[in-house]
């Protein structure tokens, strides 16, 4: 479980909480568990559930591609099952290419319909490379049907092995002979479509070749397992081919079966299938014409239709039904267990207890000195044992231990993570006893949830942890969870427009008209042509390809490859299941989330820099609790660079929310999310915190559960408590309710739960409007709830990063630079913020800089800093060589290594000779001022760079051309700043606007820092460099811009009308002059733009726009 932003948009939630009338909006997520957006699949609901009776003549369709054949198949598995049931088929197979991607959905849908299911796959033989972009994929196909669960297991293993052997995504390699062994008689093998080995041989070499190919199959899989497949799509040559195959079967004394080689449920999907084929081949339909089927004939047919079509071979239809009946089974998989990590002679719980107590000694001291903590530990261990979770905790512990051993910063997060056990085990650094976090809120025997601990890992080093898991538990037993990338309206419009031959510009224009991925095609203004629209709306939601879940891994005690095939991901060395998290959950595979977090990399960097330059060692677990200076800084929204609370929206809320203690930060994290804030609402919670709104409760019964959040539900856990308290639900019922609401499960189920909720509330005397109000709140929050347990773990990172910024600012900024790209601000804005706090920053220097940013003693004349411990001098920040353009991290490191090994560089020629850097790299270094130490000004150095670059490591020294530069113009400070920005993106000693200040003053421009003194509502002229342009989907077209000058940041709000009027300048200019009205509330200042002009400042555009 993770970060879920659900179908209900924030504005809707706010509306309900504030009691305003309903408006319509939707914003589903991308299916990944990233903090901001995710969504759950809505389970299949059959439109007409009924008792299933197949119709006569009996027929089972055994060759079926769903849209999980990725761009080769134009119906969902669910739709295929439903149509098959309508047609009265006796069984339906799913045989996607090289995988079992759709089987969980398929099995669920068919089970609900009562339709018998057959599982198989079409294996691609003889691929030399991935086949996307190729009009006619190469190689042959082999259609294998599992004869039962054992056959399924073997087929999954065979596909996994083939995918593994291919060594890259989309290129499985099977050894045909070995497949026979893997099958072990548990598969029925069909001769397949025109790309099957037998039909292909028939087309190529006639009967003789076909006989050879068929003999080969018989030799490998056994006569009793090979079936000759007859397909007739109504082509001029199909009847002849069927005759030839029948003759072949008679010759080989094999059975024949009729199939439809189905690629979609109904005829009308044929055109979408053709469009998909051209997307797969990466060309327009016009160029694909010669490969497309003549007509859309690959749809599901009834027994009667097949009997008519195969009137000459009625047995083939009957035998399809017979084979279907023989192979059909219900997909109920043996769930693998977690691996055993405890030593012989112990049990999982005894081992966990031992490890916990060992750790507790260090964290809590002896039982005598801290009885409360040990009481808590005992209680938790009992619960963990009762819930049978010890194995889960042991794996978490194992992964965290690996990180600790390797010096990789990590932190547990989630319901189970907020336990004293996890604190004792070193999984988290938040002491739940000290922070009075009640374990019951997170983990209780009544709650039927699977355990939930995500591990956040320093993003730079997450790969090491993932590889550790593969190495430790084995490639067969551990795999990442997939994320099925699906078509959204934008991509659907784009791909279909491309297929239909519209130009790239038109594709862009149309897909842009559908802003944001929340939009639906039917409620957006657009001028997309009908042909594109029709295909695109069919395509919406289709799986596009398999991606990686952000960090989920399944770890088992036996090969998971036999439960679900595993294939390579695009990322090197990552193997991934063919199922997404919902499929895994449905089959009860336990998922461990190993998520990369940039802030942990940054914190790790700070923890490494602090001992070296401050002479202290920091333990994140032992920071002073509730440090007042840190909270003061947070309340002042002085939070550039601080985790989670640095964005424009979040900074605008801190002064209103006024956090004072750690728990406030958890509330802030749960509440102040991009969605909510950009919804533009002043949240009722803030009003209540500030006393401008009375704290009330919907009903006295809810006071207990909502008291700590002022009567407003903030956390997901609270909503379950509301159901328990108001309607006397059992915890299981509450959980069921949450999930039903969350995923909008079947309407009937929801109605049933709703009825019992109202019944329960009535039993407690809650009826009428109050009951409706509670129900609405629950429904809204089910979708929005940010789990308190996760909020607390994040809050600790907010607190730690804020604390380090407050007291070790130089280390803070340097580490943030080194952890880029991350966060909301560009390196230039981070450094500008550092300078505004009085820190000294040096540019890169070839002999003094490391590859990465480092700290140096501050110059004697350094200004006092406004951050850091009073009375101490903050070190200066020295930018790293890797910040220089055209000099990558690797090259910078090799320069540093060369210098460490053979001493400082004597001059530029020496550098060129020893490192072999390219001319452009040396030129960039020159422009960045990295050769100032050689007594060369930047321009002379730049001139010489071109000439000394003839010095190479493989030439004799001093043979390069002479490098005596001519006289070149001196650099003005402004030019120097521009050179800094050009070469490193950072101007360490100045901010470009400061050189314009006299002119700006004369125009009456108010600098950022003076805006605080301007009266509310006054008209002001402001100017600065644009750092951000944002247009949140929830803000009804308003564009937010951030401007920066040498004194600070300014928030600009731009209405759609103003944006439209000035859009050229507003969008294209790197720096702007804006006239507008100042708005102030609770210490937050915005400028509402009225006029926008270009500011004549040649800064390279580097703003972060519309991300």
């Amino acid at each position: 479980m993770g970060w879920r932003n659900p179908p209900t948009p924030w504005s809707e939630l706010e509306r309900i909480l504030s009691g305003r009338p309903r408006t319509e909006a939707q914003s589903p997520g991308d299916g990944n568990d990233s903090p901001a957006w995710t969504r759950r699949r809505i389970p299949f609901t059959p439109t007409s559930p009924r008792r299933y009776v197949p119709t006569q003549p009996l027929y089972a369709e055994l060759h079926v591609h769903s849209n999980f054949s990725f761009l080769d198949g134009a119906s969902y598995p669910e739709d295929l099952a439903e149509t098959a049931a309508e047609l009265g088929l006796s069984a339906l197979a799913l045989t996607d290419h090289d995988g079992m991607y759709g089987v969980v959905r398929f099995a669920q849908a068919a089970k609900d319909l009562g339709l018998p299911t057959v599982f198989g796959a079409e294996l691609s033989l003889g691929l030399s490379m991935p086949q996307n972009g190729i009009a006619d994929p190469e190689g042959n196909h082999l259609l294998a049907l599992a004869r039962g669960p054992e056959g399924y297991r073997r087929l999954c293993a065979a596909i996994s092995a083939g995918q593994r052997a291919g060594g890259e995504k989309g290129k499985p390699i099977y050894d045909l002979a070995a497949l026979g062994e893997r099958a072990g008689g548990h598969w029925a093998v069909l001769t397949g479509c025109r790309k099957g080995t037998v039909p292909a041989a028939l087309a190529r070499g006639g009967m003789a070749a076909a006989r050879t190919a068929l003999d080969e199959l018989i030799g490998i899989f056994g006569r009793e397992n090979v079936v000759v497949e007859l397909t007739d799509h109504g082509g001029p040559e199909d009847a002849d081919r069927v005759d030839a195959l029948v003759e072949l079967a008679e010759w080989a004394r094999l059975d024949t079966v009729a199939t439809g080689n189905v690629h979609y449920a109904v005829p009308s999907r044929g055109r979408l299938a053709a469009a998909l084929a051209s997307v797969r081949a990466r060309r327009g339909l016009d160029d694909m014409d010669g490969w497309l089927p003549a007509a859309g004939s690959a749809y599901l047919r009834s027994g009667a239709e097949m009997a008519a079509r195969f009137a000459r071979y009625p047995d083939a239809v009957t035998r399809a039904a017979e084979l279907g009946a023989a192979c059909a089974f219900e997909l109920a998989l043996v769930k693998p267990e977690l691996p055993v990590l405890w030593p012989a002679g112990e049990t999982d719980i005894s081992y966990l207890r031992r490890l916990t107590m060992q750790g507790a000694l260090g964290r809590y001291g002896t039982p005598e000195s801290n009885p409360k903590a040990y009481q808590q530990l005992e209680h938790e261990l009992r619960t963990i044992e009762e819930l049978k979770f010890p194995g889960y905790f042991l794996i978490i512990k194992d992964i965290v231990d690996f990180c600790t051993k390797e010096g990789i910063l990590c932190q547990g997060r989630g319901s189970a993570a907020n336990s004293a056990v996890c604190y004792a085990l070193g999984v988290t650094v938040v002491d739940p006893v000290a922070y009075e976090l009640l374990f019951e809120r997170f983990l209780a025997p009544e709650r039927a949830e699977p355990p939930d601990i995500d591990i956040d890992i320093a993003s730079e080093r997450r790969e090491e942890v993932i590889q550790y898991v593969y190495d430790t538990y084995g490639r067969d037993n551990a795999a990442q969870v997939a994320n099925i990338i699906t078509y959204r309206p934008r991509s659907a419009v784009r791909d279909m427009a491309k297929a239909l031959g519209y130009s790239t510009g038109q594709q862009d224009a149309w897909s842009k008209q559908i802003e944001g991925w929340g939009a639906h095609l039917d409620n957006v203004e657009h001028d997309i042509p009908a042909d594109v629209l029709e295909l695109a709306s069919q395509l919406q939601g289709f799986p596009r390809h398999l991606g990686l879940h952000s960090g989920g891994m399944v770890i088992c005690d036996r090969p998971v490859t036999e439960v679900c095939p595993v294939e390579w991901a695009r990322m090197p060395n990552r193997s991934v299941l063919q199922w997404d998290k919902d499929d895994c959950a449905d089959t009860e595979l336990v998922k461990f989330d190993l998520l990369g977090l940039g802030m942990l990399s940054a914190l790790q960097g700070m923890l490494e820099l602090i001992p070296r330059y401050y002479g202290e060692t920091i333990d994140l677990a032992k920071l002073p609790t509730n440090d007042p200076a840190t909270f003061e800084m947070l309340r002042a929204a002085d939070t550039v660079g601080v985790f989670q609370v640095e964005s424009r929206a979040q900074m605008a809320t801190l002064p209103r929310l006024k956090p004072k203690v750690f728990y406030d930060l958890a509330c802030e994290v749960a509440l102040i999310r991009p969605g909510p804030i950009q919804g533009g609402s002043v949240h009722p919670y803030i009003r209540r915190r500030n006393g401008s709104e009375k704290i009330t409760y919907p009903h006295p019964l809810l006071e207990n559960c909502l008291r700590r959040t002022k009567g407003i539900p903030l956390f997901q856990e609270q909503m379950m408590h509301m159901a328990i308290d108001a309607a006397s639900f059992s915890p299981q019922q509450a959980d069921e309710l949450r999930r039903a609401m969350d995923s909008r499960r079947s309407v009937q189920k929801m109605e049933k739960l709703k009825a019992s909720l109202y019944e329960g509330m009535a039993g407690n005397g809650i009826t009428g409007a109050v009951a409706d109000d509670i129900y609405e709140k629950l429904a809204a929050f089910a979708n929005f709830g940010f789990a308190e347990s996760h909020a607390i773990s994040f809050a600790y990172l907010v607190y730690s990063s804020a604390y380090l910024k407050r007291f070790y600012p130089a280390a803070f900024y340097a580490a943030l630079l080194n952890a880029q790209p991350m966060g909301f601000y560009s390196p230039q804005s981070l450094i500008a913020d550092a300078r505004r706090h009085g820190l000294t920053v040096y540019g890169p220097d070839i002999n003094l800089s490391g590859a990465m940013a480092t700290l140096r003693p501050a110059p004697p004349d350094a200004r006092p800093t406004t951050l850091g411990f009073p009375g101490t001098v903050e070190p200066a920040i020295r930018l790293g060589l890797s910040s220089v353009r055209r000099l990558g991290k690797e090259q910078a490191k090799s320069v540093e290594a060369e210098r460490d090994e053979h001493g400082p560089f004597r001059d530029m020629a020496d550098l060129a000779r020893r490192t072999g850097l390219s001319t452009p790299a040396i030129e960039s270094l020159a422009t960045a001022g990295a050769f100032d130490g050689f007594g060369l000004d930047r321009r002379r150095a730049l001139w010489s760079a071109g000439v000394v670059a003839t010095e190479r490591p493989d030439r004799l020294a001093g043979l390069g051309l002479g490098a005596d530069p001519p006289t070149l113009p001196d650099m003005s400070p402004m030019e120097q700043t521009m050179a800094d920005l050009w070469s490193t993106g950072i101007s360490p000693t100045s901010y470009p606007t400061q050189f314009l200040r006299p002119r700006l003053d004369s125009l009456g421009v108010v600098p950022a820092e003076r805006l605080r003194q301007v009266a509310d509502g006054a008209r002001v002229l402001i100017g600065g460099v644009v750092t951000h342009r944002q247009r949140p989907a929830t803000a009804s077209g308003i564009t937010f811009m951030s401007l920066e000058d040498e004194t600070g940041l300014i928030n600009v709000v731009c209405s759609p009308a103003v944006w439209q009027r000035h859009r050229r300048v507003a969008r294209e200019s790197g720096s702007l002059l804006i006239r507008g009205r100042l708005e102030r509330s609770d210490g937050v200042v915005n400028v509402v733009a009225e006029q926008i002009h270009k500011l004549p400042l040649q800064v390279p555009a580097s703003s972060r726009d519309f991300r």
Binding site: A135, D136, G234, G235, P236, E237, A239, P267, G270, R271, A275, L285, D286, D289, G290, W291, L292, P293, A294, A295, G296, S297, Y299, R301, E305, A308, A499, L500, G501, S503, T504, G505, Q506, D508, A509, K512, D531, E923, T927, R939, L942, W943, G946, V947, L961, P966, L968, P969, D970, M971, E975, A979, W982, R1064, E1068
Partner: protein, 510 residues
């Protein structure tokens, strides 16, 4: 020793590709228009510029800045054609006119200046007579004159002799249009042509190489090439005679291609490249038309062919010669040494092919290029689209590739008679009910009686339906039908189809 730059007049029509498009009726005057070449904006109209469209932008970006942008493909033929009247107007008053590209003309100033009594007078005269908006620059050397034209208001700017360097000095180095060089110059603080020009040529050559040295010459107000371009020997001229005279653009263009190839081969054989090309055409009534085309580097065979085609197109389509062209001559006006491509050691195509080609070309020259067609096997599913006729001389590349599989194509043996327009027919079952095919590809009843042009015959054998749903994405060429092979009692086999309930005979097997 520095050779003085030649006094040069440059006439520049801003955004010429756009102007030509407006003249051609492809775009309305005043509309936001961009002309694209290779996906990048080559020129745009003032209206498009107001919305932020710029040269060099990618199509995507341009369209996003200006949503109602009219995007047109670069059409050099049309640009040259519409430019011809402009050139002719100028030629009426000046000699030695060279076309650099459609929209930009250069000529030596000395002659006209003497005739009109001074450069300013020439400038005034040209500004009065040229029929399209343009600007004129007069300076030492083509580069300076071009900049003078481009940076001045109408009508133009005259830079006094010897004043080019001074004139160029304050302009940004970006004027050189060499992005890689100028980004370095900016970083060195050399932001103006003057500051760049002030460096010593030796230093520049050391630091920036030959390409930099060339730019340096331009910045100093000198001509691009210090080497004296040679006057070529007369034997390098090629010509061809037309009998009968040519008066159609396509025929002329066709002839131009071969002539250009000969011309280029000849120069290449001498190890020469052409910088300036004179195209000369003689007409039936004794006119001789000449035009010079100028180019920065050596012209390739294709570039020569392009220019010849543009020029003939221009002459013929803009009331040029009053009679047909009888002779066409290509003369290199300036050449440089150029190590070009040598002919293949074993020669090219065989003599026989050559002779056949000449014969066919001869027929084409008599009857027009479209009169000589040759069949090429093409791809397709129907009987009628498996052959395509292509004019001789054009690439024998069918629109639909025959090598693709075309699933569902009518198999061999192919019908001998393919009807150019399908003949309507009626098909009924045994009970006299019209036979139909359902959306799920089922035949309503077996076909029994066929009626074609009033004649009724019994169906004795049939195969099908073979459904086809082709090119549904393009309404103009879409085909949705089900095909049948039908043999009737009279022994005739037909390829038939039914579409929207109506039957057609597509072809007959004889």
């Amino acid at each position: 020793m520095t050779k003085e730059a030649v006094r040069t007049i440059v006439v520049w029509c801003a955004d010429w590709p756009v102007t030509a498009a407006v003249l051609a009726g492809d775009a309305a005057e005043g509309a936001p228009v961009a002309v694209l070449s290779a996906g990048v904006v080559l020129a745009c109209s003032a209206a498009a510029r107001t919305d932020g469209v710029r040269r060099g932008l990618r199509r995507r970006e341009a369209q996003s800045r200006c949503p109602d942008l009219v995007v047109l493909a670069h059409d050099p033929d049309a640009e040259a054609r519409f430019f011809e009247p402009v050139v002719r107007t100028i030629e009426a008053s000046c000699v030695g006119v060279e076309v650099v590209r459609p929209g930009l003309i250069a000529m030596a100033a000395r002659g006209p200046a003497r005739y009109y009594g001074g450069e300013t007078a020439v400038l005034d005269h040209l500004a009065r007579t040229i029929p399209v908006p343009c600007r004129i620059g007069i300076a030492d050397g083509v580069f300076a004159a071009t900049i003078a034209a481009q940076s001045s208001a109408e009508p133009g700017t005259r830079v006094p002799p010897g004043g080019s360097a001074e004139f160029l000095a304050p302009r940004p180095v970006d004027t050189l249009d060499r992005p890689e060089l100028t980004v370095l110059l900016h970083r060195l603080g050399l932001t103006t042509l003057g500051s760049f020009a002030a460096l010593s040529p030796r230093d520049v050559l050391d630091r920036f190489g030959p390409e930099g040295a060339l730019a340096h010459r331009l910045a100093r107000g000198l001509d691009a090439r210090p080497l004296a371009a040679r006057k070529p020997p007369p034997e390098l001229t090629v010509s061809t005679v037309f009998d009968p005279p040519v008066d159609r653009v396509d025929t002329a263009a066709f002839a131009a291609r071969a002539l250009a190839a000969r011309f280029h081969d000849l120069l290449t054989a001498h190890g020469l490249g052409c910088l300036r090309l004179a195209i000369v055409a003689c007409t039936e009534d004794g006119q001789e038309l000449t035009r010079c085309w100028r180019h920065d580097g050596a012209l390739s065979a294709a570039a020569v062919a392009d220019r010849v085609r543009w020029q003939l197109d221009s002459w013929l389509s803009t009331a040029g010669p009053t009679a047909g062209i009888t002779q066409l001559r290509l003369a290199p006006d300036q050449v440089i040494d150029h190590a070009g491509q040598q002919l293949g050691l074993w020669g090219g195509t065989g003599d026989a092919d050559d002779r056949a080609d000449r014969a066919l070309v001869r027929v084409q020259s008599l009857l027009g290029p479209d009169a000589v067609l040759t069949p090429v096997a093409a791809g397709g599913r129907g009987a009628d689209d498996q052959v395509q006729l292509i004019p001789w001389g054009e690439p024998r590349q069918p629109d639909r590739d025959a090598d693709q599989p075309w699933p569902g194509r009518i198999p061999a043996p192919s019908p001998a008679t393919v009807l150019t327009a399908a003949a309507p027919a009626e098909m009924r079952d045994r009970d006299g009910v019209p036979v139909t095919v359902t959306g799920r590809e089922a035949v309503s009843a077996p076909p029994a009686r066929l009626t074609v042009r009033g004649g009724v015959s019994e169906v004795v054998a049939w195969a099908g339906p073979w459904p086809v749903d082709e090119r549904w994405w393009d309404p103009a060429t879409a085909r949705r039908r089900a095909r049948f092979q039908v043999v009737t009692a009279d022994g005739v086999a037909r390829l038939m189809s039914v579409a929207e309930g109506r039957w057609w005979v597509e072809a007959v097997y004889d």
